[in-house]
Symmetry: C2
Subunit: 334 residues, 2 copies
């Protein structure tokens, strides 16, 4: 919802390119808990704007993980004054600016995004919901602006696209995604090295956590549901926290025959965060709504209170109803 | 080595396309322990030849895993007589025909391959060592032959390319790989479903085996080497064998900071198969050669006799010498 005083103007590709050429003194903002797409988009835009003589700066609300160091470098300092042009990339809502929301949330000049859920919080919006990643749009914008792309820009763009598509695995990939990837391969991007860092590198502590979590695996409903638990003790013992834990839910959805993958992460003494991954006809959002949470059809979450056993039982009860609908042939994926 | 009585003739793309148009009654052979590329290539070629009115058959030396059922269908029966044209796809050496080697090994009319190590065992060879997958070459051949591609052909081709590149992750990917993928996306291939089957589906027994294997993880040489063990007992307990075990070596190479990932699989009472994955400057082939095995710079293997402890010590001793060279600054990756 847009509570700003202005009306958000939707721009097309040409208009956005012309906006970027006309303005200067850019402050480019990423979303909090930055990922490959928001960072890749921000830096590619940064390098592109520098290429045409603009002054620009990238600001991330959180620390940028070291693994992005091959393209995320020190940028200019742009004074935050009336001459600054504020641009967000891959940010669907001003609240996702995290610690920067208060300072910039109401004054974003241009939002470049691919989330259909974008809340039109900026004065101008370039939204391509068919783009697999915001980086895909940045590529097209730089192309439209006839800006020279160089190797580091290509690396940033490739990173954005690869990370948001699970390396071209997911349903958001289109023919265009591959055509842009092919164009980026014309530069010496060493995509295999990027992919190794992004997809095939696990910390030792995470491997240790995975071992512990696999020990907790429980199967229910004729093996159509797997439950994995990540207790506070495991997190403490291994030193894994927050972002480290994101990969665990992926395990739960990869087991053959499983329709519901449940990950129960302890977040406090009597508080657990449920991550649910489902396949049709099960609907994760529907199940999590019953638990006071929400999300997408295939991936949703909820926060549930109690001890591990009682939380598990609440989740299983909620899934049970849907499983019974499947068995009775009355389940719909809506 | 080619011990045949004929000289292998190397064809270019145009000549190979013309060969395929000229002949008929095709028996298309895959390699043993079939993977996505040999099967995708064989079936795409099959569907393409059918499209131009040829009679053709696909024969695989081993059972085709059910997961390829979305493109691997029943083919024609082509009598194995003097009129048959024998074509192999993705087969680098006649011995890789396995159970079909004796019958067909000496009489292959055309070999279509992308392995630089191809032993020129066929009468005619189309070899593109720059192709990420043989399926890439099949796509180009069908295109050169102006054969209509349909959805099932596109699915087979996509499967070959995706599986041989780790879904566009590895260093064998080129701009051309992505351009072909883009062309295949013009068909309703449902690539995300293919990728889910090929990359994100694990059997419950494999998950159980992984749990057991992670329990055996040992680190050596300042955490630069991880050793994982797969005992006969684990294989028996979980029911995992042969192809199931291939993913385990992948775990060993994904740990942050690890230069040498060792997987020790028990193959018999006092016999273990070593899979070694290395990063530069370590050289897997060199280390495995010292153990009586061999392979590539980054992935090699050996068979070592003894009990688990003694085998582990032999491997570690062999790695130790290279680690010491690294520490002394005298290690070269050759």
């Amino acid at each position: 919802m847009n509570n700003n005083e202005f009306v958000c103007r939707e721009l097309n590709l040409r208009q956005t390119a012309s906006f970027l050429k006309k303005h200067d003194n850019y402050i480019i903002l990423t979303h909090a808990s930055p990922d490959g797409d928001t960072l890749g988009s921000a830096y590619a835009l940064y390098y592109g704007l520098k290429e045409i003589g603009k002054i620009a700066s990238v600001i991330c609300p959180d620390l940028i993980p070291g693994k992005y160091g091959y393209f995320a470098r020190e940028t200019d300092h742009v004074p935050d004054d009336e001459n600054a042009t504020i641009v967000t990339v891959d940010v669907a809502d001003k609240r996702l600016l995290g610690s920067l929301c208060e300072l910039f949330g109401e004054r974003v000049d241009l939002s470049i995004d691919h989330h259909i859920s974008n809340t039109s919080f900026a004065k101008n919006l370039y939204l391509d919901a068919n783009a697999s990643a915001t980086a895909e749009s940045i590529y097209e914008l730089l192309d439209e602006m006839k800006v020279n792309i160089n190797t580091i820009t290509a690396k940033a763009l490739y990173t954005g696209i690869a990370t948001d598509t699970g390396c071209f695995k997911y349903s958001n990939v289109t023919a265009k995604t591959h055509i842009i990837a092919a164009a980026l391969y014309e530069f010496d991007i060493k995509a295999d090295e990027i992919n190794r860092i992004m997809f095939d590198t696990k910390s030792r502590k995470l491997l240790e956590l995975e071992r512990m979590v696999l020990d907790t695996a429980e199967y229910h409903f004729d093996n159509r549901c797997i439950v994995l638990a990540v207790t506070a003790e495991m997190q403490k013992k291994t030193g894994c926290s927050g972002p480290d834990l994101e990969g665990i839910a992926v395990i739960s959805r990869s087991v053959e025959g499983v329709l519901a993958g449940v990950t129960i992460k302890q977040t406090n003494d009597e508080e657990f965060k449920i991550s649910l991954r489902t396949y049709e006809p099960l609907n994760a959002a529907k199940i999590c709504k019953a638990l006071g949470g929400g999300g997408h059809n295939a991936a949703a979450g909820a926060t549930v209170h109690g001890n591990l056993e009682s939380v598990k039982n609440q989740v299983l009860q909620s899934i049970k109803e849907c499983m019974e609908e499947i068995d009775a042939g009355t389940c719909t994926a809506e």
